[in-house]
């Protein structure tokens, strides 16, 4: 669902085909009929942006018909816990939860906590500004008192227990509502429900796969929550063949969040300190709270070891391990905020390492205009991509908005070595690190990122040497001493340092359990600890599958501690026995007094299933023998999120930011906490209850093709890939083609309030109009790989998309918008600007359009930004 796995992850899709060959039923729920649908037993088209309505329907079906895996739900999830009596649901507030502040469009979540919980202290506008939930990572949000006894009703009958709240919240997500909102016939929807529930339980498990089709929405995090709730209710988490598979966007994107390129995270999902954290204890208090369960309690060891890795000898107990050297954040410094700040002249320089925002990011036009307002720009890529050439070749040159002679940005281009020209690891979707060797020497000036960053640091340190300025100390004190092979830093040495070193012996630590908070260990990323255990590069292991067990534990290395299935304690029942022989994964061996099985148990090895902690225990010691979710503050899987999600404790159907229809379930139209940036450069198409939406009557969605790679920098340069998909096109249904006079292979253009883009037309039955509210709703689809450089070129599809974000993780809503489509080519030159302005005028679009977020209580508050 929300994944075109066959096209975007063809290599991983071989396992789906293998499962299918063994009898698995494959269902594809997606707006478009894709190559994935072609392989599925059933394709269910739905309107883009309505997945929570669909998933909520499944949850309702499970709860109304008692189809949940009750033993699992009662013991392993927070279903029995009682929630604060002040909590109000969307049922009570017409689409809002209690604690909403219309002024800041954010929630104070103190009423979402468990009844017996003392304090939550998250939420509010500050949490939203920093995308706080994104920082909670593997540890999950804090929960003061999570280790104490939490008031609960094991019968699941109490009206304020999570189970009953869930039941009430989703009661209106009926098959009829699903049909009305998603355009999926009730009978088809029920067929999916039956397949999903029939293939779950003791003997069977079902897997859920999603990709960026779920994440790139203003409520993307809640899509995933909804999918997780179903999988928890059906007992499909922590068990073989179950799970929620998050297929990442491209190679090692998983790695780039584990060892993050995000503004609000440190390695291993430790939050970036903010200006409120004066010292290490105050930071640690915030991260792990008091009296809570689980391994996040040991965050002190993870952070101190990280500081030791960064600053080596300079980090000592008496100076808080140089915690003060870490940067602080004080608000939103995400990529889209940064781009807007560039427009406003607040950003002077920009590094682009393997990224092509002029094509690949939402609102390419905004990206290019922003980059034209920098002093300097460094682009490291395989070829001269659009983001390196925008100042002399871009749509804005055509319209006269950027003039090469006057563009102030000085662009430095550094040719990059490709993945076969350097050694290192990829971390894939399953959290598996796989080492790759260098196959060929890079040509000419091409260099690895490692080389670039290392020597950049070296030169900066040389230039600053002798400086007495305090602010230069963090850079000068860095332990910048990686092993070199010639002038290339050793990637293997870097991996070893990421693994962690016992500083007393100089030997590699065996895993994160060996890390200490006293400064005797250094570790670059605690969740990767163990990847170099015993001094062996575990990621380089390549034992063939026929020489080892079914979980292939000796192929590569999976974090944490080579566990292939997270939270796999849940694969055994309360007594530690597998739920069924067929689905055995790990189990308690009473004779030997330890957990064992096919996978590395994700549980303390010697803690018996019936262990109960003492009243004063905290951290790992406070985990019961039946608390499988060992990173969570209460050891349970969260059906209801008492903390940690800024836009609601339960997923709720809201319409996308741009939608042709009114929300049929609540007065609240869109996500009440979404991030909007209302300004002239970033207009929105109107959505109900605003007027003017009929000017952009169609649903617009974008995606990828197998034949190209994201923004095209790695594929439009290559003849063998370019010839396979040589030109930008749009897909429309035969009925839409008739309605707008479009002909197959003819030209047409798509218009939003941002711009117009033209492409050749594909009229195909793969696009099907859907019936929503008794009328036909058409969807238009375009791939987004083209730009103005390379062997094949075309308009930038992302120019059509505006900047509006999910508040939890700051991901843009690039999977759905509204549009118009017209035959023929778009106007060229300055006429394009007039043409789009004409559309905005007809639709009544102003910078305030779409920013009146609250449509329940205060319709009049527009969240617009100050103009430049």
């Amino acid at each position: 669902m929300g994944s075109n796995m066959a096209e975007a992850h063809p290599v991983g899709f071989q396992w789906v085909m293998e499962a299918k060959a063994r009898g698995a039923e494959v269902i594809h729920i997606d707006p478009r009929f894709t190559r994935t649908s072609a392989m599925a037993d059933l394709h269910v088209p739905l309107r883009a942006g309505t997945d929570i309505a669909f998933l909520g329907g499944v949850i309702n079906h499970i709860l109304q018909n008692d189809l949940d895996f009750r033993e699992y739900v009662r013991a392993y999830t927070n279903a029995p816990y009682l929630v604060d009596e002040r909590f109000q649901d969307t049922e009570d507030l017409d689409g809002l939860f209690s604690g909403y502040d219309p002024e800041t469009a954010s929630y104070d979540n103190t009423t979402w906590r468990y009844e017996s919980q003392t304090d939550t202290g998250e939420g509010g506008s500050r949490a939203k500004e920093q995308s706080r939930p994104d920082q909670l990572g593997s540890g999950g949000p804090g929960l003061e008192g999570g280790a104490r006894k939490i008031a609960a009703d094991p019968e699941l009958k109490h009206p304020r227990c999570v189970f009953q709240i869930l039941k009430r919240h989703f009661a209106r997500y009926t098959p009829e509502a699903v049909e009305e909102i998603c355009g999926v016939p009730a009978e088809t929807f029920l067929r999916v429900c039956r397949a999903w529930t029939a293939n779950s339980g003791r003997e069977r498990t079902a897997a859920l796969v999603y990709s960026v089709g779920w994440t790139q929405h203003t409520l993307g995090a809640q899509y995933i929550r909804a999918g997780s709730i179903i999988q928890l209710l059906l007992g499909n988490i922590g068990r073989p063949g179950g799970g929620v598979f998050a297929l990442r966007g491209h190679a090692s994107i998983q790695g780039s969040t584990d060892i993050p390129t995000l503004f609000n995270l440190l390695p291993g999902y430790l939050p970036m300190p903010d200006t409120a954290h004066e010292d290490l204890p105050s930071y640690l208090h915030k991260v792990r709270g008091d009296r809570q369960k689980g391994f996040w309690r040991n965050a002190d060891a993870y952070l101190v070891s990280l500081l030791k890795e960064y600053w080596g000898e300079a980090a000592a107990p008496e100076n808080d391990f140089r915690f003060d050297y870490l940067p602080r954040i004080n608000g939103d410094h995400g990529t889209y905020r940064t781009v807007l700040d560039m427009l406003d002249g607040k950003v002077f320089g920009y590094f682009l390492l393997g990224q092509n925002p002029a094509v690949g990011s939402a609102h390419g036009r905004l990206q290019r205009l922003a980059m034209s307002n920098l002093d300097w720009l460094v682009v490291r890529d395989l070829a001269m991509i659009e983001s390196a050439e925008f100042w002399k070749d871009s749509p804005e040159i055509e319209t006269g908005e950027i003039v090469p002679e006057r563009c102030r940005t000085e662009v430095f281009f550094f040719p990059a070595a490709s993945h076969v020209e350097k050694a290192g690891t990829f971390t894939q979707t399953q959290r598996m690190l796989q080492w790759r060797d260098k196959a060929v020497e890079p040509r000419g000036d091409q260099r690895s990122e490692l080389w670039f960053i290392y020597h950049l640091g070296r030169l900066l340190r040389e230039k600053l040497s002798g400086s007495a300025d305090e602010r230069d100390r963090p850079l000068l004190d860095l332990a910048w001493d990686y092993e070199l092979e010639g002038d290339e830093p050793s990637a293997e040495d870097v991996l070893r340092r990421i693994n962690g070193i016992d500083l007393r012996t100089g030997r590699e630590v065996g895993g994160y359990l060996d890390l200490r908070a006293d400064g005797t260990t250094a570790c670059g990323c605690w969740i990767y600890s163990g990847v170099f255990a015993d001094g062996v590069n575990q990621a380089a292991r390549r034992k063939p599958h026929d020489e080892q067990g079914p979980y292939e534990n000796e192929w590569g290395w999976t974090w944490p501690l080579n566990r292939r299935v997270l939270y796999n304690r849940a694969s055994a029942d309360l007594d530690g026995k597998p739920w069924s022989e067929r689905k055995a994964l790990v189990w308690w061996d009473a004779e030997r007094g330890e957990w064992t099985g096919h996978d590395v148990p994700d549980f303390e090895k010697n803690k018996p299933p019936h262990y109960r902690p003492g009243d004063d225990d905290v951290g790992p010691a406070a985990l019961s023998g039946d608390d499988p979710f060992i990173m969570q503050a209460d050891g349970k899987g969260w059906l209801f999120a008492p903390n940690g999600i800024v836009d609601g404790p339960l997923p709720t159907h809201y319409e996308p930011h741009e939608s042709p229809v009114r929300n049929q379930l609540y007065a609240q139209q869109g996500n009440p906490a979404r991030n909007v940036y209302g300004r002239a450069e970033n207009p929105s198409n109107p959505s109900p209850p605003e007027r003017g939406g009929e000017v952009f009557p169609y649903v617009f969605t974008t995606a990828r093709l197998t034949e190209h790679h994201t923004a095209g920098g790695m594929s439009r340069q290559l003849p063998y890939l370019s010839e396979l998909q040589p030109e930008l096109f749009m897909e429309v249904s035969p009925r839409l083609a008739a309605e707008r006079g479009l002909t197959h292979l003819g030209w047409a253009h798509v218009i939003t309030s941002r711009t117009a883009v033209d492409a050749r037309v594909f009229v195909t039955d793969r696009m099907r109009p859907l019936r929503i509210e008794g009328r036909e709703v058409h969807q238009v689809w375009m791939p987004y790989h083209w730009g103005h450089t390379g062997l094949v070129d075309g308009d930038v599809v992302n120019d059509l998309i505006g900047v509006v974000l999910d508040p939890n993780v700051f991901i843009q809503e690039s999977k759905v918008a509204t549009c118009d489509v017209r035959p023929g080519r778009r106007p060229r030159g300055p006429a394009l600007l007039d043409y789009v302005a004409g559309y905005r005028k007809r639709a009544g679009v102003t910078p305030e359009t779409g920013t009146r977020i609250d449509t329940v209580t205060r319709h009049d508050i527009a969240h617009r930004e100050e103009d430049r």
Binding site: V11, T706, E723, L724
Partner: protein, 300 residues
């Protein structure tokens, strides 16, 4: 050498003594995801040039057909659903129909849109027309039973192009020489499987000894039939067809014409011997007639 071996094993028929078993491809189109990795891997390994950047509008197929610069070609066929029952049975008058070939197969029961994908390739026929007509010996039968062009010998005469019943082999525009799939002859000799099969993520393209592949294919058809996919069938697998069976055969989910494959390919040289025999007979008959005329005259 048994007669049977000579009939079905082209390497034996060619006169190879000890030789490896005949190898080939079994392409199971029911698991093809249309990723075109086979096309790319083939070109990378064999140094085949690109075939032009043309948007063809034939679903996701921008390769169009096999040719000198495309030795693998993935076909995409979009088949709309036919949810509504067909109108009352018309009386069949036996007149020619105007339906697309194959359009009448299976669609009655098709309630969902169907998107067929299939990776086509040179069939490496048991009786290879291209090989039979090549006057220079550029085309030859390898010890693996495959058919390979030697570019340093080919003179570009083009006879092979008309000799292929599948329209596979083709001349390159720039130098006029003929090119096609070699079954990665160089890789085979190094003990590697062909590049396309190696790259195929779903094992739609399977490489191996032909006997084994035929058994596997038969099992796969049975399994699909059992699963209710009654339209599954093999194409090019039978040694009794017009080319003596293909070295690269297919599992299809519709009539061959739907995929752009000839329904009943026949090697054009099959009838050459009998044609020569007939021509000879005709010639001698003429000669006899002519002689008889003269004799007749003489007898007057």
């Amino acid at each position: 050498m048994t007669d049977e071996a000579a009939r079905t094993d082209p390497a034996t028929a060619t006169g190879y003594g000890e030789h490896p078993p005949r190898v080939g491809f079994f392409t199971d189109t029911s698991v093809c995801i249309g990723c075109k990795a086979c096309e790319v891997a083939c070109k990378e390994w064999n140094g085949v040039p690109d075939d032009g950047f043309d948007l063809l509008g034939m679903s996701f197929d921008n390769t169009g057909m096999l040719g000198a610069n495309s030795w693998r070609h993935v076909t995409f066929v979009e088949q709309p659903a036919r949810p509504e029952p067909r109108r009352a049975e018309a009386v069949d008058l036996g007149l020619p129909s105007f339906d697309l070939p194959g359009a009448g197969t299976g669609e009655e029961g098709r309630t969902d849109f169907r998107w067929l994908m299939s990776s086509d390739v040179c069939k490496h026929c048991t009786h290879a027309g291209c090989l039979d007509v090549c006057p220079t010996g550029a085309l030859f039968r390898t010890e693996y039973g495959s058919v390979v062009v030697q570019p340093d010998i080919c003179n570009g005469c083009g006879y092979c192009v008309s000799g292929c019943p599948y329209g596979v082999i083709d001349r390159r525009e720039d130098d006029g020489r003929a090119w096609k799939c070699t079954l990665c002859y160089d890789r085979l000799r190094d003990g590697l499987e062909p590049a396309c099969a190696k790259a195929c993520p779903t094992d739609s393209i399977q490489f191996g000894p032909l006997d084994e592949l035929r058994e596997r294919a038969a099992r796969r058809v049975d399994a699909l039939h059992e699963a209710g996919v009654s339209e599954a069938r093999l194409y090019g697998e039978s040694p009794d067809d017009g080319v003596g069976g293909d070295g690269a055969f297919f599992l299809l989910l519709d009539e061959p014409e739907v995929y752009g494959l000839p329904p009943d390919p026949v090697v054009p040289t099959r009838d050459a011997p009998s044609m020569w025999k007939h021509a000879g007979l005709a010639a001698s008959a003429l000669a006899a007639a002519a002689v008889s005329v003269f004799l007749g005259r003489g007898s007057r």
